[in-house]
């Protein structure tokens, strides 16, 4: 564990904005896509009357 404290972790050596800006947008896009895919699948299954 090379981070002295959580605040040091978030500061990311002063690059916090850039590092977390990259990771946050990546997480948002990937999670967003997956959630939308799964919800369309669920809705379609319910529509087809199959068990979810």
């Amino acid at each position: 564990m090379q981070w002295g404290s959580w605040s040091e972790f978030w500061a990311m050596g002063g690059y916090g904005f850039y590092v977390w800006g990259s990771f946050a947008v990546t997480l948002l896009c990937m999670a967003g896509e997956m959630v939308s895919l799964i919800s369309t699948e669920r809705a379609a299954r319910k529509h087809d009357g199959e068990k979810v």
Binding site: M12, G13, L37
Partner: protein
């Protein structure tokens, strides 16, 4: 089958992120900003890899006139476009602290941007054409024409050695990266790959459901 890919993707990213932030050391030159590599490189690899797989399916669809190939290509395109955007986004956020600029008309950045336009072109072209089969064919032609852009991206740093860094990971030479950094990056690349398969499988199921109502009953 899809849940397996999604589960392995989650597992790989958790381990990968742990290595990325808690095992990999600080870079002597770039400090902490280099940690963006753990998503920038996997996203860039996936943007090219998915395009090749997409063009492969599209080409097969053209040659064998099989319906599923066109559907697979269309199932892959949105995820490929997303990774291309992410490669450009994370690259810009990495470039700002290290190069001092969000964007520069460097050979690799420009060809990656062209890749994004190719994806958007494929998506809009296939969405615009009413008849699904004709849309697949038109999309396939565009995808195949765009394949030439992939080696350009890959070798752009070699041919025009502009600002973007050369390949630090190549199969022939020993890795020029600290092993923990390399492991973290490869774990994330695998995680992104599993994710892409899960996304494509999910999306192709809904495309099949749309196009083949009778076949979908048994899906």
């Amino acid at each position: 089958m899809m849940p397996w890919f999604l589960a392995s993707s989650l597992l790989l990213s958790i381990v990968g992120l742990y290595v990325a932030f808690f095992v990999a050391p600080t870079d002597f030159q770039q400090g902490e900003s280099y940690r963006i590599i753990f998503i920038h490189v996997p996203a860039a690899w996936m943007s090219m890899f998915i395009y090749l797989v997409m063009a492969g399916w599209a080409g097969a669809g053209l040659v064998f006139n099989t319906r599923l190939s066109g559907m697979m290509a269309r199932a892959l395109a949105p995820t490929g476009a997303m990774f291309t955007f992410l490669a450009l986004w994370t690259g810009a956020l990495w470039g700002k602290p290290t190069w001092g600029t969000w964007w520069v008309w460097d050979a690799r950045l420009t060809s990656e941007l062209i890749l994004l336009f190719l994806y958007i072109g494929f998506l809009s072209l296939t969405a615009a054409i009413e008849d699904e089969r004709r849309a697949d064919r038109a999309g396939a032609v565009l995808a195949l024409v765009g394949v030439v852009n992939i080696p350009i991206i890959y070798f752009s740093v070699v041919w025009w050695n502009t600002l973007h860094q050369g390949a630090s990971v190549s199969l022939k030479s020993a890795p020029k990266m600290a092993t923990t950094m390399l492991i973290g990056m490869l774990l994330m690349a695998l995680a992104f790959w599993m994710y892409s398969i899960a996304a494509a499988l999910l999306r192709v199921r809904s495309i099949i459901r749309e196009r083949e109502p009778r076949a979908a009953a048994e899906v």
